[in-house]
């Protein structure tokens, strides 16, 4: 059973660890680094709860091996808020638009939506629905989530104009 020493940057900090070949990035983040905001549900790439960004791309961390993250830059939901706890625009929009109920799927949604709005700052409703189609929510019926994405998009565009 091979073990690997890995080094990567997680939420701006240099991190290292020892992992088995089969350890997923999700398990390394949760168990190796204690970053339990990345949630695991299906563990085979269907639910999207474990979504993080690796080198700027949103990916499912249950479908990436920790050893494959050697040298990568990873951002998890813990890395979105400001140092003083100020929520990111997407996080704040989910709160304001009731984009969550139990909250289990929310970290994955927030990570996906953050990446989605960077690529498409002014999405149509149908593009929003496609953009969140890789994340499952069993509480909300998605209406509040779609509203949260709209709200976040509007605020991010306003901030862009103001900047």
């Amino acid at each position: 059973m091979a073990e690997h020493h890995i080094r990567c940057t997680v939420n701006g900090q240099a991190r290292r660890g020892i992992v088995e070949s089969r350890t997923t990035l999700a398990d390394f983040l949760r168990e190796g680094l204690g970053l339990t905001g990345t949630h695991l549900a299906c563990e085979h790439g269907v639910c999207g709860a474990c979504t993080v960004t690796v080198d700027g791309r949103a990916i499912r961390s249950c479908l990436m091996l920790a050893v494959q993250a050697e040298g990568a830059t990873v951002t998890t939901v813990e890395g979105l808020a400001g140092a003083d706890g100020t929520l990111s625009p997407v996080q704040q929009a989910f709160m304001d638009a009731h984009g969550l109920q139990c909250g289990f799927c929310t970290p994955g949604f927030v990570m996906s939506v953050t990446a989605f709005l960077e690529a498409n700052p002014d999405p149509t409703d149908s593009e929003i629905r496609e953009g969140i189609s890789g994340n499952l929510c069993r509480c909300t019926g998605y209406q509040g989530i779609v509203e949260a994405v709209r709200l976040a998009a509007t605020r991010l565009r306003a901030a862009e104009v103001g900047a």
């Binding site: 059973m1 091979a2 690997h4 088995e20 070949s21 089969r22 997923t24 398990d27 563990e43 085979h44 790439g45 999207g48 979504t51 791309r57 949103a58 990916i59 499912r60 249950c62 479908l63 990436m64 091996l65 050893v67 494959q68 996906s112 990446a115 989605f116 690529a119 629905r129 496609e130 953009g131 189609s133 890789g134």
Partner: protein, 290 residues
């Protein structure tokens, strides 16, 4: 669930990867983006002692255009190909099929070659490769060889690649002249595996007669399949809408999709004929404008 233990190998050249495959034989599997293999391992539907991870093999990455072909390196990300202007201009059918693969998070890890070598009969890229008559480049310690798309897909999740071979790249033919393309599929939810889908390409002469036509289907057999009867019905004609409908009906009638958990064969046949009509209609319309 968690995958059973395995050893992870990270070669940096095709030669190193081929040597590992030769050494470990059927105990090894190539790992590219992992978007199909890792779920299978996590569900313990399959198990390998060794994964040969080709992610860091630089020569497997990249997209190059020649006069008559677009070559996509096997480890090129689906997301990179999806947003590549060269791909969109050279092989529009490929560009149109790519967004139908899974979700954007999947395409951010999934590779073009991984999807082709995995050869799921309900997936998009094998159907595009078969429809356009792509050429597969394979390498092993025994040397390199090329495999025509017609010979590449041998069954569900099965290809002509030998156990010690690695897919290096795929060349998609570039169609010249007045050409048009259509891609259509039906899935229960966006990003799910398609129940059925159609890729279509046509070329027209100055009188709008079809000089070249290719129609491929996914989700209706153990491999992607060509709808030869539809192609034969259209070649050399300048079809109106009714003729396209009839060609699609004939194309689908020659195929026998099976029943499974997700849809009956009868449903697939019906929806397949409609999708073929839609994809062919769009392709012909686009070619006429060109």
């Amino acid at each position: 669930m968690k995958a059973a233990p395995f050893d992870h190998h990270a070669p940096e050249t095709v030669a190193e990867a081929a040597a590992l495959l030769a050494e470990f034989g059927d105990e090894a599997k190539v790992l590219a983006g992992g978007q199909s293999l890792l779920p299978l391992l996590s569900l313990r539907l399959t198990r390998f002692e060794h994964l040969v991870d080709v992610h860091r093999v630089a020569e497997l990455h990249g997209i190059t255009r020649t006069d008559d072909a677009l070559r996509v390196g096997a480890a090129t990300l689906q997301a990179e190909a999806e947003h590549d202007a060269v791909v969109a201009a050279a092989v529009p059918l490929l560009a149109r099929a790519l967004p139908h693969i899974g979700h954007f998070q999947i395409r951010n890890r999934g590779t073009v070659g991984g999807s082709l070598a995995h050869a799921d009969p309900a997936s998009e890229l094998p159907t595009v490769a078969l429809t356009l008559g792509a050429t597969f480049e394979a390498a092993s310690v025994r040397g390199t060889r090329e495999i025509a798309a017609d010979d590449f897909f041998t069954g569900t999740w099965s290809t002509a690649l030998a156990e010690d071979e690695i897919l290096v790249g795929t060349r998609f033919p570039v169609w010249a002249g007045r050409t048009g393309y259509g891609f259509a599929e039906v899935a229960r939810r966006h990003g799910d595996f398609a129940l059925a889908g159609v890729a279509a390409a046509v070329a027209l002469d100055a009188d709008d007669r079809i000089t070249r036509v290719a129609v491929g289907m996914l989700g209706v057999g153990a491999t992607p399949v060509r709808a030869g009867a539809a192609e034969a019905a259209l070649l050399g004609t300048a079809p109106d809408a009714a003729a396209v409908t009839e060609a699609a009906r004939a194309g689908m009638a020659a195929l026998e999709p099976a029943d499974d958990l997700h849809a009956t064969g009868a449903y697939r046949r019906r929806v397949g004929a409609h999708l073929m009509e839609t994809a062919l209609g769009a392709a012909i319309e686009e070619a006429r404008r060109g």
